[in-house]
């Protein structure tokens, strides 16, 4: 039974550093220095969160700003290490947390495809094989040798999405990235995500757009101030969420 979970997060607590820059006088400086709060002030972004996802399920993460949705995604990707609890991931992850994280804006689109691809852990050879496919999806054929600082944000997003979704991952992690880009491209992205879901990919999806959550996901988890408020079938959780936040 245990083997079925591709994402197995147990009693996860994540700690953040909130050290504020505001030190008003010398006395406060030394007080903070002695209490060791000068550089570190603890804040628990997630507390006791349990999330078990089976292969092929798609989960929406909902909640107001600052409730810990993105933190949970980052923990799943291995970017944040658990303070308490365990994270067990089976399979490879395609992180779509910020499109084009790792782009170098002084380099051309062509160079960035290789840079960003290797950042995601692909080999150079692999990127060469999929180069055409990426360019085609991003629709940037004429701009390949332009430094991407000269690109519009929509063009950058297209390139980022094309690189990140070139493989069929076991787990796709998406954090509210489709707000840029025009309608046509958004539809294209939803299309590709749907394709992956049909192919058996597991999805973790953060969005404030409840309709898209209902559309893409079959389960949802509702976070509130770092705690799980409710988790279960998407319709049930979303309805209650909408009632409370109306």
């Amino acid at each position: 039974m245990e083997q079925d979970y591709v994402v197995d997060i147990d009693n996860l607590t994540i700690r953040f550093n909130l050290a504020s820059e505001k030190v008003s006088d010398l006395k406060e400086y030394f007080v903070k220095l002695i209490k060791r709060e000068l550089m570190f002030q603890e804040f628990l972004a997630l507390q006791d969160v349990t999330l078990k996802v089976k292969r092929g399920e798609s989960w929406g993460l909902i909640g107001v700003n600052g409730s810990g949705k993105s933190t949970l995604l980052k923990a799943a990707c291995g970017i944040l290490k658990p303070y308490k609890g365990t994270i067990d991931i089976r399979g490879n992850i395609a992180p779509l947390i910020e499109l084009g994280a790792g782009f170098d804006y002084n380099m051309t689109a062509r160079e960035n495809i290789f840079l960003n691809g290797t950042v995601l852990g692909h080999s150079r050879k692999f990127m060469q094989e999929h180069f055409e496919e990426i360019v085609e999806f991003a629709e940037l054929q004429q701009f390949l040798d332009v430094p991407i600082k000269n690109f519009s944000s929509g063009m950058q997003a297209r390139l980022g999405f094309a690189i990140a979704t070139m493989v069929q991952p076991d787990i796709l992690v998406v954090d509210e990235i489709l707000s840029v880009g025009d309608y046509q491209f958004q539809q294209k992205c939803y299309g590709r995500m749907q394709e992956m879901l049909d192919g058996g990919t597991t999805l973790l999806y953060v969005s404030h757009d409840i309709e898209s959550v209902k559309h893409l996901c079959d389960h949802a988890i509702w976070l509130e101030k770092g705690h799980v408020r409710k988790s279960g079938p998407v319709q049930e959780v979303c309805d209650e969420y909408m009632q409370v936040n109306r």
């Binding site: 550089m39 944040l80 994280a101 290797t118 852990g121 150079r124």
Partner: protein
């Protein structure tokens, strides 16, 4: 054993990233400058000319073939200085990326040191040029230079790991290191002969200054045309590996907390 295998596996997975980062550093360094990579040779050459004009009269008695003496020492020391300074910022500069995607963080430090090493190899062109002009005999011992480069590379990696990790927690490191670097440079016989230092300082420098070992090693190969003494040769390896072990230890202990301090 399993852990070790996993680490090697991860490194192999990300070796192409290392390559891309090194290529990027080299490409961006001189992009849009007219002379481009020639600057890697011109820069040390210009500094050497200035220093030779200024210092060769001061230390005339002590040093034969001052331009080569100076340039050989300067090249090795600049390699150490530039690589470690670049490495110190490697983690912080990539904070935005580390916050978004999981990447083994040491790759960034390693890439900075590697690109500086490539730059160092370019700068040896300046040395060859000066050796031809000053009619310094080429000795076959020069072919052993890669051994020295590996020594310095390992040493710089260790130091870079330590500095990049320390700099995340104490930004003061940048300023401390700047001052430290000045002291270190003057305590390494780059433009003066070692014998000019008072006896007690001489013994300290020859005992604990790793830069002295590497500079001496390089001069033995290119200027004096013989292999370095056993002390210089093995001392260089020992410094390199002690530094590497120390740097890796600090980096490994600290790396999971980086993200809390960006």
């Amino acid at each position: 054993m399993v852990l070790m295998r996993e680490r090697i596996h991860t490194f192999i997975k990300y070796k192409d990233l290392l390559r891309e980062l090194v290529v990027r550093d080299l490409k961006l360094k001189y992009r849009r400058s007219f002379l481009g990579y020639l600057w890697s040779i011109l820069n040390p050459l210009l500094i050497m000319i200035v220093m030779t004009v200024v210092f060769s009269h001061m230390f005339r008695a002590g040093i034969e073939n001052f331009p080569v003496y100076l340039l050989a020492g300067q090249a090795v020391f600049d390699f150490i200085r530039n690589s470690t300074t670049m490495a110190m910022y490697s983690v912080l500069d990539n904070a935005a990326l580390i916050k978004k995607i999981y990447v083994p963080k040491y790759i960034f430090t390693l890439s900075r040191i590697t690109s500086t090493m490539v730059d160092f190899v370019f700068s040896l062109g300046a040395l060859l040029l000066v050796m031809i002009v000053t009619r310094t005999p080429f000795s076959p011992h020069m072919l052993a230079t890669p051994v020295l480069v590996i020594q310095v590379y390992i040493f710089a990696c260790g130091m870079g790991f330590f500095l990049s990790a320390a700099n995340v927690f104490f930004r003061d490191m940048q300023y401390i290191y700047g001052a430290f670097m000045v002291a270190w440079q003057y305590l390494t016989p780059l433009f003066y002969p070692l014998e000019m230092l008072p006896g007690w300082l001489q013994s300290i420098v020859t005992l604990v200054n790793p830069a002295y070992y590497y500079v001496e090693h390089f001069r033995d190969l290119v200027l004096y045309g013989h292999f370095p003494s056993a002390q210089v040769f093995w001392g260089g390896w020992i410094f390199a590996f002690i530094m590497l072990a120390f740097g890796l230890f600090v980096f490994k202990k600290a790396q999971d907390k980086f993200i809390l301090y960006f």
